[in-house]
């Protein structure tokens, strides 16, 4: 049973973000977002919508209405397993999966993703591993993940880990590419790139909004 929230249901226009929709729409092909007829095909196709706090359709509506905080701090975007069934079946060609990604990126940048929720942490661990070595070291990432979120779970999973280990399917060895400098140079260059579709270029956002 959630705590009673009736008191803050009302949304004042002044609390909403007029540019949020345009931020999201600025991803490649994102303008289709405005074609949404709220038919719910996305939510119907989505195998995870039953576990989301807002269905994908609601997320689109909220994005258009400027409910920035609600969207970015919702679990929905993180539960998206990017199976693309919404994107494929949307009658208005809205790239929902990409929109979920865009929301996740914004949430991370603005540090408003749900706290102590494993998925964003997995994402950042994965990201760090690849940034650093060019490959993901599954074993190490998982261990870190469990330590950060729920150490108990790690003990639960220990049995599984062991089974995997004896079958040679699990190792803590650090994977990586040989020519790291090369890789790092490429990624470094993009550091300074303020990318539109990451929605973090205020100028572009303004333009988009107008």
């Amino acid at each position: 049973m959630e705590k009673w929230q009736g008191w803050d249901k009302i949304r004042y226009e002044s609390e909403l973000s007029p540019v949020f929709a345009y931020e999201i729409a600025s991803i490649p092909g994102g303008d289709k977002l405005f074609n949404c007829i709220q038919c719910g095909t996305c939510s119907g196709m989505c195998p995870l919508s039953p576990y989301m706090d807002y269905t994908p359709r609601q997320i689109i509506a909220m994005i258009r209405a400027g409910f920035k905080m609600e969207v970015l701090s919702s679990y929905t975007t993180w539960l998206c397993a990017s199976c693309y069934s919404c994107t494929v079946e949307c009658p208005k060609e809205i790239k929902l999966t990409d929109i979920m990604y865009a929301a996740k990126r914004l949430a991370i940048r603005e540090k408003v993703y749900p706290k102590r929720f494993p998925i964003p942490i997995l994402a950042s661990e994965f990201f760090r591993s690849v940034e650093d070595s060019g490959r993901s070291s599954e074993g190490r990432i998982l261990v870190r993940l469990y330590l950060k979120t729920n150490p108990l779970n790690m003990i639960k999973q220990a049995a599984l880990g062991f089974k995997l280990m004896i079958r040679g399917r699990f190792s803590l060895k650090k994977e990586g590419v040989k020519r790291r400098d090369e890789l790092h140079r490429v990624l470094k260059y993009l550091e300074k790139e303020r990318m539109v579709q990451s929605g973090d270029d205020p100028v572009m956002m303004k333009e988009a909004a107008l």
Binding site: L48, L79, A81, V130
Partner: protein, 302 residues
């Protein structure tokens, strides 16, 4: 014919059996696979959640390396077994084609490391290669141990056919079914063949992720499948490794072998358990067990 092989991180870890069986099978069919030198991560799901542009850059580096490696033959056919990598690379390729502003930035980034991508890449899934380049007939010719009487549920998962792949139908893919039938097995009609297995959720939000996998297993069993064939390391992991846990969690217990389609092929082609890494499975499946004598009997007069 020869292809450049992009393993991706999982096929070196939890999905080793996929790599080992794939290589053995391709070898048995005399298809040349040459691993991409110094390949890096494809920037899959989790990475893309942090930076899309960098994810594209990671893919672009792989493309550049592949083109370099295939310089002589012009077009580089990149064989990508992992569903997530396959999608990630496909997506990057699309976006680099379709959005000049992205392309420009990536090209610049590559240039800083004297790398270049010249659109000479084709991204191929092993299913695509086997069905469209080799063809069911030629595979049947090589079968020494037909999987007669075996009922297989072919599981494609989400990311192979959706949303970019064009080698198979998005709503009702057939390539794996064709392949499995070519091995002499039957395929069960199973509408969930492209429904999500829960992906990384099985590890993170276990109840949610495992519930999705459980729905798949339960329905496959209900439709009389003896074994499930997969084409993705994460799907295989989710469907196989949590079966004990699921049986505890949910109403009906589930117990069914989950193989990579390449392992299944290997069995039919008469390869050894080791070559196919069957010993790495949780739910045992020995080459001997596939053609129970009784089945032979059943199938007299076929």
């Amino acid at each position: 014919m020869s292809y450049i092989y992009y393993p991706g991180c999982s096929l070196k870890g939890t999905g080793r059996a996929y790599e080992e069986s794939l290589l053995s099978v391709f070898k048995a069919l005399d298809i040349k696979l040459e691993e991409l030198d110094d390949w890096n991560c494809c920037g899959a799901t989790s990475y893309m959640s942090v930076s899309e542009l960098k994810a594209f850059a990671l893919c672009a580096r792989n493309f550049a390396l592949a083109e370099r490696q295939a310089r002589d033959s012009g077009m580089a056919d990149l064989v990508v077994p992992c569903a997530a990598c396959y999608l990630g690379l496909n997506k990057a390729k699309r976006y680099l084609d379709e959005y000049p502003d992205i392309r420009k930035k990536i090209d610049e980034a590559l240039a800083t490391a004297n790398l270049a991508y010249n659109d000479h890449i084709r991204i191929r899934h092993p299913l695509d290669v086997l069905v469209n380049d080799i063809g069911g007939e030629r595979i049947t010719e090589r079968v020494t141990r037909p999987l007669a009487g075996m009922k297989v549920a072919c599981y494609y998962g989400c990311q192979i056919v959706r949303p970019y792949a064009d080698f198979d139908d998005q709503e009702n893919p057939q390539s794996m079914n064709i392949l499995v039938r070519a091995l002499g097995a039957e395929t069960v009609d199973w509408p969930l063949k492209t429904r999500c297995c829960g992906g990384s959720l099985s590890g993170t939000i276990q109840d949610v992720g495992q519930r999705l996998s459980y729905i798949l297993l339960r329905e496959a069993i209900r439709r009389g499948a003896d074994v499930i064939a997969t084409a993705c390391p994460l799907c295989q992991f989710n469907l196989e490794c949590y079966q004990k846990e699921m049986s505890r969690r949910y109403d009906k217990p589930v117990h069914i072998p989950v193989l990579y389609f390449t392992q299944l092929m290997g069995v039919a082609l008469g390869l050894s358990e080791r070559q196919l890494a069957l010993q790495r499975l949780f739910v045992p499946f020995t080459a001997g067990s596939v053609v129970p004598e009784t089945v032979g009997g059943q199938h007299v007069g076929n």
